[in-house]
């Protein structure tokens, strides 16, 4: 539904409902064209098709509402949590009016017409400036300028579930389940996440946006939670590849599409196959996408072991062959794979595919 039902429920909120009563204390605006929007001020993960800001007439943003993950566009959209956010927004507004909130520095303005590819391919053709195009063309320019950091710009919005945080979505940032990295750090079910690396967060949208700002080389993050009304500081050790997310829904043109998935080999499996590079990214193909055959991009089969790409067998970040290609190669590039099939070593070509938009 891409948030369509949620959008309709919010826009058509009856004035006598609790949500309607909260909304009637706001000036409500719904923007469907991004042409004249300051995308510098309203920066977000551009693969969200529905996103909200609570702010004031001085363009001070109190909080964000929205955010999605790879599972669904509306994993974190919930009318109850929106009501909590609306109520908090009013409270923050009163604090601001009384001078109790500090003004945040306004981000540098950036308008869609200042993004050359967007101007050339959409604005000049009078077609809609779609949100995902803003994100994509910004990344294409970064790639052209040699400033693209794929860990940050391609793997946007790391998933908090990778840390082991499962939220009680209707209750906003109240934690429902903890496991993995956050359990040993002391997070408990019922805690309400209040800050990340010192920045207060009120909604999942806030949390996701500020978690995305964490340096991808970071080893730890600080989170503050509220437990039984009292603040508790937690120091969380980030797991390896904490930033990794499934990119399928994003349709990046900067992402080399390889049309296969693989799982890393264990040390034991590497030994069995005579692979000397213990820290290599050798991985076993577990799925081949039908597009591989349609586009003739490669001839890998399920069960093949890919242990090298262009004679490289290890990487400081990638733990699988396809992640190595996504991170280190450009979309559309052809690479040579070192493969073990039925115990025999062979080489084969893989032509990565570059997405394009028919705009």
């Amino acid at each position: 539904m891409a948030g369509r039902a949620f959008d309709a429920q919010v826009v058509l909120s009856p004035t006598d409902s609790p949500r309607g009563k909260l909304l009637s204390q706001y000036v409500c605006a719904r923007i469907t064209r991004m042409d004249d929007t300051d995308v510098g001020l309203f920066d977000r993960d551009w693969n969200n098709t529905l996103y909200y800001f609570m702010m004031n007439s001085d363009e001070q943003i109190y909080m964000r509402y929205g955010g999605r993950d790879a599972r669904s566009p509306d994993s974190y959209l919930n009318l109850s949590s929106l009501e909590l956010a609306l109520a908090k927004g009013l409270e923050l507004h009163h604090q601001y009016q009384k001078g109790r909130l500090k003004n945040a520095e306004r981000p540098k303005p950036l308008f869609p017409r200042e993004i050359p590819l967007l101007l050339e391919r959409t604005i000049s053709r009078n077609t809609c400036v779609e949100c995902h195009l803003i994100g994509d063309y910004l990344n294409v320019h970064r790639e052209q300028d040699g400033k693209l950091d794929k860990l940050t710009h391609m793997y946007r919005s790391p998933d908090i579930r990778t840390l082991g945080i499962e939220l009680d979505v209707p209750k906003g940032l109240v934690v429902n389940e903890v496991r993995d990295a956050v359990a040993p750090a002391g997070m408990k079910p019922g805690d309400r996440i209040a800050a990340i690396n010192g920045t207060p967060v009120w909604t999942f949208g806030d949390l996701q946006y500020h978690y995305d700002k964490v340096n991808r080389n970071a080893k730890r993050i600080q989170m503050a939670v509220v437990r039984a009304g009292a603040p508790v500081d937690l120091s969380i050790t980030l797991p390896e590849r904490w930033w990794w997310t499934d990119l399928t829904f994003r349709q990046w043109t900067i992402e080399p599409r390889v049309y296969f998935d693989s799982v890393p080999l264990t040390d034991q499996e590497k030994r069995e196959h005579g692979l000397v590079e213990r820290r290599g990214f050798a991985s076993k193909v577990k799925r081949v996408d039908m597009f591989a055959e349609m586009t003739k991009s490669h001839e890998l089969r399920v069960g093949d072991i890919v242990f090298g790409v262009d004679d490289v067998q290890r990487d400081e970040v990638a733990n699988t062959a396809e992640l190595f290609i996504k991170l280190r190669k450009t979309a559309g590039e052809t690479v040579t794979l070192d493969v073990i099939r039925d115990g025999k070593r062979m080489q084969m070509k893989l032509k990565s595919y570059k997405m394009s938009f028919r705009k």
């Binding site: 919010v10 706001y26 923007i31 469907t32 996103y51 004031n56 007439s57």
Partner: protein
């Protein structure tokens, strides 16, 4: 006195033309009947008047009612719905004027 499906014809229905008109309106099917009368939709119009009403008068009331509804419905709807602006600058101006915070939605409709 003549009987009809709609009850006894009243004495004052001297004019056959008027009676035909009244019958065609079918507004008083139970007049003088011992059966309980159905609740009339036109309760704001005195029954005696309805009996005398001619088609043009009924049409006048229908048109009047439609006009009232047409004028009143947007006002009623406004009271029942949140007002959404579609212009960011207007929202800023309105927020300045009313001292309210802004709830800004960005909806990308692919």
């Amino acid at each position: 006195m003549t009987e009809s499906f709609f009850g006894p014809a009243p004495d004052y229905a001297r004019s056959a033309t008027l009676w035909r008109r009244l019958r065609s309106l079918r507004l008083e099917p139970c007049y003088n009947s011992s059966n309980p009368r159905p609740k009339r939709a036109w309760s704001f119009i005195p029954r005696r008047k309805v009996r005398f009403m001619r088609k043009p008068e009924i049409l006048f009331f229908i048109v009047l009612a439609c006009l009232v509804l047409a004028v009143a419905s947007p006002l009623l709807a406004q009271d029942d719905e949140i007002r959404w602006l579609d212009n960011y600058r207007l929202a800023i101006q309105e927020a300045k004027r009313t001292q309210k915070p802004i709830f800004l939605e960005f909806r990308c409709e692919p």
